[in-house]
Symmetry: C2
Subunit: 396 residues, 2 copies
């Protein structure tokens, strides 16, 4: 269905106003696409740079419905709108991209795993559990330790726990009960590499797939992207095949990011997101068309842009603030003095471990690009974990 392919400025509504929406606002400017935001707060990252901002919580259905009525198409910065509200919007005739059904799957890891199994897509064995005993049974069957995840809402290492034994399982279960979390238990696999594939897909199925990314994670948080991933081309091709199959299975419209493990020579699906994603940040300045622009083009059902890298190697590093006193505006001068580094700040108040920006460096090889990106993160006052800055393991 074409959206606003006429004489008017197309209006794309984004629910949520974090850094993903902020970078989408930026890339909408040259396309003369009007982005409207439903921000939880007027100070949110994207709200600082957008002319059209409504303020309401994503759970406030009347506000959401009123916001949607002023947009040609509605898309998302996060997974916080309840699935039933998304369905109600579609019933009221609003165009959601991705659809309510795709978003409902994106919000639920158990539904995802069922879908991967049905489509024959490889993923670590997992199971929804409704008691500590079920965790223990799974661990006894598949081996300890196991990974336990919140079935909904976890990200950046939150909502993920490594459980070594039955006693720890019982303890975790009680804590989860207190917080009303539903849990999923997952087989812990040996991880040789963590990789990700980002793609954009139009309603009719036209798809462009970005080069495979090697991600470097710490405590479940992505710290670095190395593009193209220095892995066997056969594995890269398999990763791309899987990502395309996930997009088809979920009928994705817009950006899909599939995070994967390389484990014992196999590629396994870890997590997915149906929106612009940290794994695709290298594309803004590192590829001919960014994930943010291609997300807009996909949700408007416009032709997608080429994803060619602009250099042989692209490295992106996230900037996680060392402390609340991290002074990004003083640090930016030192960061920009490093040749060939692009700095992206999100307009967020620093707090220890908070993701406040990223830097991208183009290079002739990954080592060269990584070295400059690392110096830029250091200049900005970000955490360089390989130099000893540690973060507490997350607990429920």
């Amino acid at each position: 269905m074409p959206v606003a392919n006429g004489s008017r400025v197309p209006r794309v509504g984004i629910v949520g106003a974090g850094q993903l929406a902020r970078m989408t606002v930026q890339t909408a400017i040259p396309l003369a696409v009007q982005v409207r935001l439903l921000a939880a707060s007027a100070d949110d990252s994207a709200a600082q740079v957008c002319r059209h901002v409504a303020v309401a919580q994503p759970t406030d259905f009347p506000a959401l419905a009123a916001f949607a009525a002023g947009c040609d198409v509605l898309t998302f910065d996060h997974e916080l709108v309840e699935a039933r509200h998304l369905r109600d919007l579609e019933r009221a005739g609003r165009v959601l991209r991705p659809s309510a059904e795709t978003m409902a799957i994106a919000q639920n890891k158990a539904r995802q795993f069922a879908l991967w199994r049905k489509a024959g897509l490889p993923s670590p064995e997992k199971r929804a559990v409704s008691s500590a005993e079920e965790i223990v049974a799974f661990g006894d069957e598949h081996g300890w330790p196991v990974i336990v995840k919140a079935a909904q809402g976890g990200y950046d290492g939150r909502g993920v726990w490594v459980v070594p034994d039955a006693r720890a399982a019982a303890e975790l279960w009680l804590q989860a009960l207190d917080r009303g979390l539903s849990l999923l238990v997952e087989q812990r696999v040996a991880i040789e590499h963590e990789i990700a594939v980002v793609l954009a897909r139009r309603p009719g199925g036209e798809t462009v797939v970005y080069p495979v990314v090697k991600t470097v994670q710490r405590d479940g948080i992505c710290h670095e992207l190395h593009v193209p991933a220095p892995i066997d081309p056969t594995l890269a091709a398999e990763a791309e095949r899987i990502a395309r199959a996930v997009a088809e299975a979920m009928k994705v419209v817009g950006i899909l990011a599939v995070e994967m493990f390389v484990s014992e020579g196999r590629v396994l699906i870890n997590e997915i997101a149906t929106r612009p994603h940290n794994s695709g940040h290298f594309s803004l300045g590192g590829a001919l068309t960014s994930q943010f622009e291609n997300h807009l083009r996909a949700v408007l059902d416009w032709p997608l842009g080429r994803i060619d890298l602009l250099a042989p190697a692209v490295v992106t590093r996230n900037v996680l603030a060392l402390s609340a006193g991290t002074n990004l505006h003083a640090g930016i001068t030192a960061a920009l003095a490093i040749p060939g580094v692009m700095v992206h700040l999100y307009g967020k108040q620093p707090r220890p471990g908070r993701k406040v920006g990223h830097v991208t460096a183009l290079g002739d090889d990954l080592d060269d690009a990584r070295e400059r990106a690392t110096r830029a993160v250091e200049a900005l006052g970000g955490i360089i974990w390989e130099r000893g800055a540690e973060r507490e393991e997350a607990h429920p």
Copy 2:
């Protein structure tokens, strides 16, 4: 003098809200620089995409002074603020970049020519005139036809006339008198190429110079940029030398664009602008750091970004609307279907001949890039002059 190199978000005020300011707003987002606009109208190109907009005419001094008081540094989208107002702002302690003195020179072609002569920089012979007889005397001395220009305020072919003889000079003089224009008469030189050099300069003198651009003009309006200019490297080096000397002579801070002629093997200065300029549009998406970002970095006295091209050849074509009925939002779908083309729309209502956007294509060679850029302009409903679309010659 460092500006806002502290703990606060730096606030850059731009007087004017055309497409140059719009693209500056876009590039300010990742740097977390707050751009504030003084727009002549709330609908202006840049005002559509900026959170902080004050509306007033650039000639309204009280409004300008109030606007400047809320900014750490003031810069410009055009040359429409009177020189005496700029001086008054500096006297009141405001930081203007470029300075009132640089802007006063940028506004006055007679002052520029005196400066080029003093610095030994080549430019077609010219003279301020105060009667038709002086035009005739100049023509008799340097040969007919001569070029007559408005000493202030002309651009895009407006305020420039080719005068073939004494009778036409007398006629033009009467028309200029009616409109209160002061005039300059200039030697008409043989033009082999039109080229431009865009550079960015910090207060301390640090300068980065973009590759030399070949410009293709029609009726005084720039239609195409070919980068790097396919000219003799000796001429390119001379063009760069001249641009650097102009920047020093004018004490430019921010972007300087120098438009030049190649005439009988020599490089001659034609026009200059001390702000982001159409000649530098290729840099947005075609070079590692755009002129808009480097303008911001220069006026904030931050380190400048690398200007490397992102492909062997970059071609930019302006989109001048064929008619008021040109439907850019319908045309964009066809334009984006052309591989490797970046589309930049300015949010302006089409009118015949109005510059409403530009497209940039990266390529392995200029022919390849130009072919795709041309198809994109056609798809958007822009004038392709080599295919017969004509514009009336401008008259005073």
